[in-house]
Symmetry: C2
Amino acid sequence: MAARRYDPERRQRIIDAAIRVVGRSGIAGLTHRTVAQEADVPLGSTTYHFKTLDELMVAALRQANEGFAKVIASRGGLEDPRTDLAAELAALMGEWLGGERTGVELEYELYLAALRRPALRPVAAEWCEEVAAPLSRRTDPVTARALVALMDGICLQVLLTGTPYDEAYAREVLGRLLPGDGAPGTDTRGGYRTAHRGRLRTGT
Amino acid sequence: MAARRYDPERRQRIIDAAIRVVGRSGIAGLTHRTVAQEADVPLGSTTYHFKTLDELMVAALRQANEGFAKVIASRGGLEDPRTDLAAELAALMGEWLGGERTGVELEYELYLAALRRPALRPVAAEWCEEVAAPLSRRTDPVTARALVALMDGICLQVLLTGTPYDEAYAREVLGRLLPGDGAPGTDTRGGYRTAHRGRLRTGT
DNA sequence: CGCCGTTGTGTACGCTCGTACATATGGGAT
DNA sequence: ATCCCATATGTACGAGCGTACACAACGGCG
């Protein structure tokens, strides 16, 4: 394994390894040693590239954010003004939550770590803005921020309580947040049913 | 259960100490030793009463939940159908977030810990239901759940990104979630302004 | 009154952690 | 070709962790 000297991708590989470690064992399992082992580099290498674990987490969170941003971008429907925005978002969440729990846990854990680690807060703020930006183009900035907040809240309820994700519910309440630009469902008073325009998508 | 070396307050004091420790140093700082020191009991005492740290966290989270439930209950306005529910909730959040950050961090950290610790999930679920229950009496269960989700999301955005809490914004978007039961603000399209009935409250 | 099992306490063990540091290496400036 | 220093590595240290386990205390029972 020698001949690893001068490895310009070393830093990147360490970040990738950190993400895998957090995905597998959570932030609690993130140490210089576990990352070194996962990346197959000596201990000194991780401490050299990232003096502190916070630094490593910042890099990992930033990279995880980019991954999520790609997922959003790849789902073109968000920009198309003819689609039902609430339905589109609800479907997106369904897809995300329907995948491996590991990936979702990973991103949320890094994101939520900002609660105690001020170093992560700017990155968390970036994430909020990045997600809200494309939504702002469909509605307005205030609504966009609220949509992000509600999506966060719904995802957390699913993840924290173990309740299964209910896409119709998500579509309904997301729709209520949209300013009355033509349709959505504030008319379904005492509980949503099937009263929805827009295409239907299978939940998770 | 008889009174051997009967110290019924011992267990409770350990829980209280655990809450203080989490408030000060976060979950990462929660160990049998730190709790023992904080509670001024020997190390063996904490391991005796709580075989595992998860067990201790469950007790701590449950107790923290009770504290929050009291805060809600003490704010009578929620039950009074004449008050503006969205404004009431926004004010409640303002009060909560305006207090010491420690307390808010504490509850959220324990709550969010359920993401990785299945043992905490039933307690987290209880909390959701406890908060949603009184809201269900004012609207319907679906709306109540959505209100809780949105409040969570807004609080998290404040806590994770460092953005200051904007009570008028919260009131506006919470109001949009309410089914059109008479008033609130889905009429303010492209941005909220001052268009609100109900009393005004100073933000944090 | 004196034994006994439940309940509480103190200490010591093995492990992993972050950190520091002395050393090796090799690309690029000269 | 030579030298220099940012890069890379291996090891050692002290601190803190969960856990185990032997021992002290004391109410109930014979």
